[in-house]
């Protein structure tokens, strides 16, 4: 949608085709149960690039994100759990309960992350550099990045290198001593990947989730008004305001090619549409293998694309609640319920959850990240009722019984999540009115994300930058001329960030491809 908006803004004639009745893919709001509107899949916003919001005028088209004030990690150890707030002094006091040193090192950690983010922003706001190319423009790109890297200074350069290679836990060990602090922070390193918090490379994913900016404040996360579909809608309205046409319930069955170039699409209803170029927001495998066909592609490319890892590892449980959950460790209502709530009691807990997934089973005690947006935005639930969205990891796409066996395991997986939560929230089972369980298999069926990977391919180091999705094709092109990719399976990756759409459109326009 971002790509469409940029192309339309530049005066190109754009037609957007959406398979479903709602726009937005994984970033949709749906009234799953009467009166209860859920951000069915993607559920919080932070990474969306501020310059895209400005350039497309998204705020004028209904982009509204309400920041969260708290990250709460409940506990079963007889203490009150840990809540981290926007209020720095309050956070220091909370963290001091577990470690006085951690409480005071927190600002130093934030400072380092802010400094590194300044460099990383250069990476995500520009096309991936092609390290093999001697083209002057590419060399310029490399020089610019090199300059930004040099500006970091030697300490930060070293830190940056560590960040690319270390595990999330090892990285956090450089600052923090308390498990209670490290566990909830380390989970940013595994979200959407099939790795554990001790797996090398997860430190980078941690940073990916730390680059968020809301209103000039780094690292803040927020709710989109009316659910994350609001962001998609704002992008759609912006695209339409620039003249783009949008058709829903118009599934594309194949991309038409002629002499090695894309010339249009065929819809499932048989309609054939001509186009000068085709840009696909579906993931790379679905686009190339599903809509073009292996026979049209170079052997080498097919091999690499087959190796490109999806391995969806997470599911969603969406609950409609009759009342607010009452946490055993922090009873009653309060602002600790209004932000992000993370079930991540210790590093070992998280690593054990991964262990089970490695052998094709969903975690018996999973990592759960939940939010109750109705506390902040009453429009998503009837008065006095609430919606609770739970992101659950690990739920491996490849069950040992086979991915297609997920429908048989779905509800048992849901029960596991509810049981896990009930340890912390004794009244939970009494207040559930409805529940929706989505396994990675369901996510694939519903929105077409291959293997249910929320980033259209893992955000692991070997699949980033000039290697995303396939080396030599990190510039949004494909082996088929005039067929482009603009989804999060391209540099720099996903998370309601907008960058792939922006950079693909700007590349298409710069190359005068249309």
């Amino acid at each position: 949608m971002v790509c469409a908006a940029y192309l339309a803004k530049a005066g190109r004639k754009v037609l957007v085709l959406e398979r479903r009745h709602v726009l937005g893919g994984a970033a949709v709001s749906e009234e799953v149960f009467p009166g209860f509107t859920f951000s069915v899949m993607s559920y919080v916003v932070s990474l969306f690039r501020p310059h895209i919001i400005r350039e497309l005028g998204l705020a004028q088209h209904g982009y509204e994100v309400i920041p969260m004030d708290c990250t709460f990690t409940p506990s079963l150890n007889g203490d009150k759990g840990l809540a981290r707030w926007s209020d720095a002094a309050l956070t220091r006091r909370e963290v001091s309960v577990f470690s006085k040193k951690d409480a005071e090192v927190y600002p130093e950690f934030s400072r380092a992350m802010t400094q590194i983010s300044a460099f990383t922003k250069q990476v995500i706001d520009n096309n991936a550099p092609d390290i093999t190319s001697m083209h002057p423009k590419e060399l310029g790109n490399m020089l610019r990045l090199g300059g930004a890297m040099r500006d970091l200074g030697p300490d930060m350069m070293h830190l940056n290198t560590k960040l690319l290679t270390m595990s999330a836990v090892d990285f956090l060990d450089m600052w923090f001593e308390s498990e209670r602090m490290k566990a909830p922070m380390s989970v940013s390193g595994i979200i959407g990947t099939f790795q554990g918090v001790r797996s090398p490379g997860t430190a980078y994913v941690l940073l990916h989730h730390y680059m968020g900016e809301l209103d000039g404040a780094f690292r803040s996360w927020g709710f989109s008004k009316g659910g994350t579909g609001g962001v998609s809608k704002a992008c759609a309205r912006a695209a339409e305001s620039f003249g783009a046409e949008i058709r829903t319930e118009a599934p594309v069955s194949s991309i038409r090619t002629k002499n090695g170039r894309a010339v249009g699409v065929v819809l499932e209803n048989g309609d054939e549409l001509d186009a000068n170029i085709v840009v696909s927001n579906a993931d790379p495998r679905r686009t190339l293998m599903g809509m073009v066909g292996e026979d049209q592609l170079p052997e080498d490319y097919v091999t690499r694309l087959k190796r490109y890892k999806f391995r969806g590892s997470s599911g969603k449980v969406n609950l409609a609640l009759d009342a607010l959950p009452n946490f055993k460790c922090r009873p009653g209502e309060g602002p600790h319920l209004a932000g992000d709530i993370t079930i991540a009691p210790s590093i070992d807990y998280l690593e054990k959850a991964y262990d089970e997934a490695k052998y094709g089973a969903y975690s018996q005690k999973p990592f759960i990240d939940m939010v109750i947006p109705s506390l902040t935005d009453p429009s998503v639930a009837p008065p006095g009722k609430h919606v609770m969205s739970c992101f659950v990891q690990y739920a491996p796409y490849h069950l040992k019984e086979g991915a297609d066996k997920w429908p048989e395991h779905r509800e048992a997986f849901g029960d596991t999540v509810i049981d896990t939560l009930s340890d912390y929230i004794p009244n939970l089972k009494d207040i559930i009115l409805h529940r929706q369980v989505l396994s990675p298999w369901d996510i694939e069926q519903k929105v077409g994300l291959t293997e249910g990977n929320i980033f259209q391919g893992e955000l692991s180091l070997e699949q980033l930058l000039f290697q995303r999705p396939v080396p030599g094709y990190a510039d949004y092109t494909t082996p088929i001329k005039d067929l482009w990719l603009c989804g999060s399976g391209t540099h720099p990756g996903g998370g309601i960030i907008g960058s792939s759409g922006e950079l693909s459109a700007k590349t298409i326009l710069a190359k005068n491809a249309v």
Partner: protein, 416 residues
């Protein structure tokens, strides 16, 4: 030393930040929590509730009450129907503004007037010859502003007033959980919202009732810091920040006229005599010296200045009200005006300001240079001149009955 308002018993324990200020002799909460941002978002996404008791309030009665008010105010109050509210200002003989506020026509021959400054003396000066009495009810009437998208739903739970038909700038008397109240659809946030007025003795009962009925609608006690951001987004000027009461100023340069402040629309020139009429008529014919405009301060340029110091762009989450010089876009030495207040707008994702500039620069889209201080050093960044009202949501004026029709029409159109 300020005193607590009739709501103090409730607001004091909630104000955990201890962040208060003096508002016209009353303790007023700046922000209940250390961080005021959730209070801002309550105004825009659910409902914020703020104590507005410190406003000066007057009851004007008598069979000449409307004639008297028409004599003092720039607006013709003879035309204000019962149940309607007018936003307006009043001037001295030179057409310089004294204050701005609202006049509410509560019943036949009775008006309720609010103002920012004490106005009893000023109003009393013009009662001669009119059958009109002025009673200062500032310290006997308490007020709460309930502002935000869910404010109507909250009041529907507890008042016997037909809220769906209480129009923008309407006022109605009724009972809120058996408390006699006056509800006006007015406010200082530019959003759907109401102000609820009652006798001091009922204040605590009113607070408790609204908190109870508002619970399921995320009612949030809010302070002045949050309201200041919303009023700037809505382009609502403030006495003491964006202009000053002419009767307190030593030099003419500090005085303003309604036309200069963008309040020309409140002036009804062609009618019987009122304060400042001839001066305002002259200004209307000859044109004004100054204009009050909105500025959209370029974020990319500000970001570039910050980056040149190795800093990320940072905005203070608070609104500001210090005078900032504005320069001509082609001549950086030529000052053409000054900004008087501004804020980062989390809703609009813009860095905005209210500014007074020379009339010839009051053309939408005009580029001017705005002074910013980064790392103790002054820099200029571009700002674009636009209308004062940055934020004006449909819900502010809309009525639910009407809304249903609109929704059905748009639905029908989208199906076609």
């Amino acid at each position: 030393m300020p005193i607590g308002s009739p709501f103090y018993e409730r607001t004091a324990p909630l104000c955990t930040s201890m962040n208060w200020k003096d508002w016209s002799g009353y303790y007023a909460v700046c922000s209940f929590d250390t961080i005021h941002i959730p209070e801002y978002f309550a105004f825009r996404h659910s409902a914020g509730m703020i104590d507005v008791t410190p406003l000066f309030k007057y009851r004007v009665k008598g069979k000449d009450a409307s004639a008297f008010l028409s004599r003092v105010m720039v607006k013709n109050i003879d035309k204000l129907a019962v149940g309607r509210v007018a936003y307006l200002c009043w001037c001295n003989d030179e057409g310089k503004i004294i204050d701005d506020g609202t006049v509410m026509h509560v019943s036949e021959n009775e008006f309720f007037v609010t103002s920012a400054d004490p106005s009893y003396l000023w109003l009393s000066r013009f009662t001669r010859g009119f059958d009109a009495t002025i009673e200062d009810v500032t310290d006997s009437i308490a007020g709460l502003a309930l502002q935000g998208p869910t404010s109507r739903e909250i009041l529907k739970q507890c008042v016997d007033i037909d809220m769906d038909n209480l129009k923008f700038f309407g006022i109605c008397e009724g009972k809120l959980d058996n408390i006699p109240v006056r509800v006006s659809r007015t406010g200082y946030t530019g959003d759907l919202g109401y102000e609820i007025w009652t006798e001091n003795a009922n204040a605590l009962k009113l607070w408790d009732a609204l908190m109870t009925h508002g619970k399921n609608y995320n009612i949030t006690p809010a302070g002045l810091d949050a309201m200041d951001m919303t009023r700037i987004e809505a382009g609502l000027i403030l006495n003491g920040a964006d202009y000053y009461n002419a009767s307190h100023m030593l030099i003419a340069e500090r005085m303003s006229t309604p036309y200069e402040l963008g309040l020309g629309w409140t002036v009804n020139l062609n009618r019987s005599n009122f304060n400042g009429q001839s001066a305002l008529r002259r200004e209307n014919e000859e044109g004004s010296m100054w204009a009050t405009v909105g500025l959209d301060i370029d974020w990319s340029e500000l970001e570039a200045v910050c980056n040149s110091y190795g800093l990320p762009p940072e905005v203070d989450g608070h609104a500001w009200r210090t005078s900032i010089p504005i320069y001509d876009n082609n001549n950086y030495n030529k000052q053409v005006g000054y900004a008087t207040s501004g804020t980062w707008s989390p809703t609009l994702k813009k860095n905005i300001a209210i500014a007074t500039i020379q009339k010839k620069y009051d053309v939408q889209g005009t580029r001017v240079q705005f002074e910013v201080t980064v790392e103790h050093t002054r820099h200029l960044v571009t700002a674009i001149v636009g209308p004062l009202q940055f934020f004006n949501p449909e819900r502010k004026r809309s009525n639910p009955a009407l809304n249903r029709e609109i929704n059905q029409t748009t639905l029908a159109q989208s199906i076609k």
